[in-house]
Point group: D4
Chain length 254, copies 8
């Protein structure tokens, strides 16, 4: 740090460059924290609806569209989605609004906003409808980061043949997010079949002792093959991590 | 119960029959608790060595040979095994003593003892050497109950092809004990391939959070297919439960 | 596997046979995953209502009737049951629909469907009304798999005489599912009285520390006699495991 | 309190009486904390050996004999017992020293010390040798408090007839301490047979998930009959609580 | 047991006596399980309202009044209480119905029913209104068992003087139930001041980590003085255990 | 931050000042991390011996004396203490070395080192010998930070009078560290008697469920009065936090 | 204690003084427990609304205003706040009522009530809106105890620069309360930058495994720098502890 | 799968190709499971020494060198390392053997073995010596997979400036493994500064409640920024996952 400051003192380094090196982002007059963070890492800031009233969600989404050109709203119920739609219809009537219904996600793009394009594919594997929300979050954030995505549904460890049927699709992806509830063994089984990074995404189904995703998470942490994991239902986190890997791969191809 | 006692009072039922109906076993002059229990259910009483000094183990084993014609000694270290061998060599020199080394089990049969024979096969599946003790316990107790056993080694969920290679052997067994550590998914995968009862046997390997078999047990309890489970490292229990099922099948064939 | 594939290459084995050997089921043009799984293992696929809206349940139940001749709907509330009844009345008016009220289960059979018949009895023991749902699930799935069932109610460890009164009935069953909440000791006590396999089914009653079935599950895992267990309230799983054992016994008798 | 102090100020109450009322014990010149506590409640102070070196144990035991006429040393290994014996032999050669071997307890009485005598019986039930230490602690402290004790061994829930065989002995006790490991169901079963208070004493045997007494404790807390419990292996606590109940009963008889 | 049965066979023992010795109660034509249990141990059977609809509670309460002369209904909400009142008003218009409002308990006595009278006092200590339900359960069941009760309110460890103010009242009771939430230290503090048995009753207040009574329960199990504990909010259990002790004391006085 | 950097660029702020403002410490040629941290916050860096071989401890202690004038060595066994003494005797023969035996702490001061002096007192309360190590750590670090300390021993909630006897001493301290094991209620009781900040220090005694300090920690977190807590056995942390408060008070007096 | 009582007996000490010394507060004719406690320690008694009906809250708040001149109502919903406002408007129309909306706190001061004034500042740091309730509780209670407060918002470990921007403000406070959810690292990071006491306040956000504040609490207990912690969401406790430290500092300045 | 098998039947696909497509690897006469797995995914098979005797480790290492050209031995103590060295010296005297002492890792390369080379860098960050073993495992496996590695030591959240000093190095890596114990916040802080994937590696230091890495793991799962995690001390897993990402990046560059 001392060298950096000496360089500033000596006029060898601009203040902006120094600030950027020190803190990871450059603030401007109009700058905002969220915008800066999104710019810095390439991961869109999500607006998590849990515990927010519809009006709060609508305000946050509108602000996001204004400052970053995009809003990514997760875990939204119907009422929250309507509030966002209504507000945007009024304040940003030209914005493009997409809702991924079963995943409870809304994405809005301001006119002129274009998301990045990466030459890399994120595969997202899920066992069924109970995984729809976290898997959908993973798909959406990966796409918003610019990755191509490939969704593979209805795959479970109790029916190996369904897994084997998808081996080529699984191998074609550059990185995989594998959602699983109950005993959470699917990421392990799939990681044994591919040579790409696998991110385990435990899902909160299952009941009784260690239900609601706990056994799935623990199983992924104890996996006998190579993978890393995120927390239960953390679909956004898994998709973003996959997106960062896709970014790295895409950049390497350029 | 009242009818039963009235029948005894009326002389319509012998005391022995009444006792047997009420309590599940008949005591004799020479009878003993352990012998009775073994007779009643067909499951040999095991002598669990944990926390016992060699002399105690040797005494218990000798008593077992004397009263039931057989001793089944589990979790025995070298010193305990030597103590049993020495004592039996002195007091029952003709007894047949077998040690299953990697499973830390000793079985002794008195001269003239013959274990039952069942027309049923118990398959015991394990992933590797770390499962040797509980898997070996399961094999031994199932054999002592009279079942044929089939051991299938080196099978794990991270290498599906090894599992598929064994499908026919797995299907040939009448009941399966499937040992697994780490994430404990093997019983689920196998249960998806066979139409026979599967008993999950979690094994205490794995480290870190939920290690030492905990994740394996929880995964079996959360299985998305049909199976039942026993406690961590409870190889004797799993083998005995499989043995009871084999008894039922074997009896049905007669 | 290699041998299998070589046989296919040599024309010695049909594709269908090979596929069946490899994966455990044969797909047909009209075939479906659920139907195949049911055929393979003999365990009917259940439609678990938790978290589904009535329309979804009705659709799944109708599909099940169409593809497998049967629907087994569990944890259904009144509204869900009415939705299934209404849909089936419209699309399959001749189907036979039975509801086991206290167990929240609905079973529908298409015209001409006949469930298997096994010469084996599954006994299901419960302590009282709080066990009605999981015990009822166990009874229903065992019956749908073809077993005879015997229900034994109002039995608990705090009143030994009630247990002893039922000893003969307990011994007459080929396999027992024993439901218990609170401290979960009933499977242990009963397993000490019979020579047949016992499956412990912990039930989510009890309050305070380790309530809601946790203590019951742990007690079954720590049992000092031989039994295996399923997860809390997993009545379907316990009944299906008992059904698999009954299948094995029934087959042996043929 | 104000009234009390006003009475002291007015000379209506002696200082000693006031102190006794306020704090529960009266100090004397020679008085000591431990002695006072023992006097007050009638429960002997135990010297718990865990983590103490032999010399410390010997010093504490000698002090106890000097101040209260008695030493009660628990969880003592051979070396600690020898140290106490040697020290007492030197400093209090006439003291009466008793060791309850399997329970790892030593009791020393000074010449002239006589323990109280209560007309009440504490029954202590245990399943086997693994319960010897906590059960022995319970017996010893109850006896030192003056109760008669009755020990009932080799009783377990997997063999109901052994329990029933002891019903009359169980009913003859005024209060029961019931030790149990594994699933911890024995106190529940026994409490269903008697009309006296039962104190559950969980014992640290059992392995795997919820082993080492945890399942036993939880099962006692979830009991479907009436009992109270102490912590795992807290034999001294269970025996002392039974002793307090015996004191109350014995006093009532006088 | 054999002796017993031989005595029956020899006509030396009546069937009823034998049954009573074996099982702990005698059935009659009109006899019922609940009634027998209540008679045997002296603890009234409680009807726990949790999860029952008002009609079920009313039916159970009416049956209890008919068979035992008394109904004890716990955890009843207003609707459940009204249902019981209405049903009893119709079917047993002369029954005496009492509701302890803050404790959510209803007690009904049939005409002519008289509860036992014991010469012994149960003290029930609580910290405040949050303990009202479990403390009230303890008081009610102890009274129904015939004990006198003394309630001591608004006592907590953060204000020692309130505890000291009540020392004499605390010492006058024959047995104490001490309810406490949060850190659960009150039973320990009080047990240090009295020479009577103390039963700790953890209460489900407190929030955050180990809230809802868990810390209180654990603290009682770890108490550095002598006491036994029941599960969280198990006021009925604590009061019944205190009632059993009071029975023993009361009987000793006769 | 931007303003700060602009000031550096403009020459209005020296590099050292800027660095200090940004990061909290200034590095010098000879500067070291440990020294800087100690200087910055006033809390001496401790050398925790757990898992280190004696030679490593000796090297670290010598380095500490050289760079900061002082070494504070915690959780040291005899061998580690001897290694430090020997090394210091050789390399810093004039250093003043003090060992607080029962607390397993060694403090060494270089010649000329003088610790700060604060006009504030830290009271450290403990129940007995089992608290000696963490309580001794708290005392030592508070003293090394310059506070006066007052140690109050043999105080426990089961003997209120001992607590009341010390009220004046407790009130004289400016801040209190209260160590407690088992149920951990002592900090709560004391905090109800004083008007100064109390820091709860849970101690790892107690056995069975929630033993080894867990119940004590949870009880402090659930306290019904005002206090904050540190982790189990974190005597250094508690003493340092008290030292920081004493620093603030001492500075305010200047 | 004896000396104290002897002094009372001798007339050397007034009853009031003695009582005060013994118990920590002096009761008067009109005195009340809550008032006394507030007087003694300087921490206002809070009325926690959880589980109370609006009428109960209103009654308690009115009583608090009457006896202590102030009411501090926490975790109040809109209905509860309206009830308090309405009751006070009727019974104490001149009282000053303030509501801190996002923190769900109401403070009422009677006419003529003046809170203390301390020359010390409590800084309260929070990450965002999800921390508003506990952080607001901490601010309010510290202010009511007389401290100045400084609130620092929108600070989180994922954006270090925001933390660094606030270093001077953080260092200006005399004591800091740092709220944090998720991984709870903010108190650690801030404690590394200041030389004042830091109190960690874990907040119940975060989902999945160890969510709802658990991970935050554990992280604070495991902090690698010096801090103490309170329970999850215990904003009142954290603020009151900070207030006690501010009291000590403020008093030292006088 | 059907298409695949039909192609085999039609002679359009060779058996080997089919097998490879189905199972993920091709077996040969001399082929072995470990070798195949290593080939397939590019992750070297590690020999985990925990619980193995030196002779077993030596045998496994020798076999690994023979079949894959390389042995990677982890968690090896001195005796195990000597055994491997001795065996290899005898059987493969020309093998190149490297030991990374503080990480307890041994790597042996057969003559002629050359590990892959990737144009990608894995950064491994650790806080200090307590992280040496897992961090060293991560470095070694990443290097063996062909990545360049950059180690960054002595970085912790309590000293932000050390983190900031390394920002450029951190940003230069293509993927980061960040080891942390105690509260485990370092990966979060670093992930907030870089735009590359970060893998959290919790380390088993820390004591008391949630010590031994538990709090660190939970904190990483609750991170408020984007990262994925592996189990406690799973350095091999973290390094291999980073290696897979590096493989993907390196391949993309080709």
């Amino acid at each position: 740090m001392r060298e950096l400051l000496e360089a500033v003192a000596a006029g060898e380094l601009s203040v902006t460059e120094a600030e950027s090196k020190l803190s990871g982002y450059a603030t401007t007059e109009a700058g905002r924290f969220d915008a800066a963070r999104e710019t810095r890492r390439g991961v869109p800031e999500a607006i998590l609806c849990d515990g927010k009233i519809p009006g709060e969600v609508a305000t946050l989404a509108t602000t996001a569209v204004e400052t970053t050109g995009r809003a990514l709203v997760t875990r939204a119920d119907d009422e929250q989605i309507q509030a966002v739609r209504a507000r945007l219809a009024k304040e940003h009537p030209d914005a493009n609004v997409q809702v991924r219904e079963r995943a409870n996600i809304l994405v809005a793009h301001a006119v002129g906003f274009s998301k990045p394009e990466l030459d890399a594919t994120v595969g997202v594997v899920s066992a069924g409808t109970s995984d729809a929300i976290p898997a959908g979050e993973a798909v959406t954030v990966a796409e918003e980061m610019g990755a191509s995505t490939e969704e593979i549904h209805d795959v479970g460890v109790a029916s190996l043949v369904r897994v084997l049927d998808e081996v080529e699709t699984l191998r074609d992806a550059d990185v995989l997010v594998v959602a699983a509830g109950r005993e959470g063994a699917l990421p392990t089984v799939i990681a044994g079949l591919v040579d790409t990074p696998v991110i385990g995404l435990p899902v909160s189904n299952g009941y009784g002792h260690a239900g609601q995703g706990k056994s799935a998470l623990l199983g992924m942490l104890q996996s006998c093959t190579v993978l890393s994991a995120v927390n239960i239902d953390a679909g956004f986190m898994a998709g973003a991590q996959a997106g960062l890997i896709a970014q790295a791969i895409g950049s390497a191809k350029e």
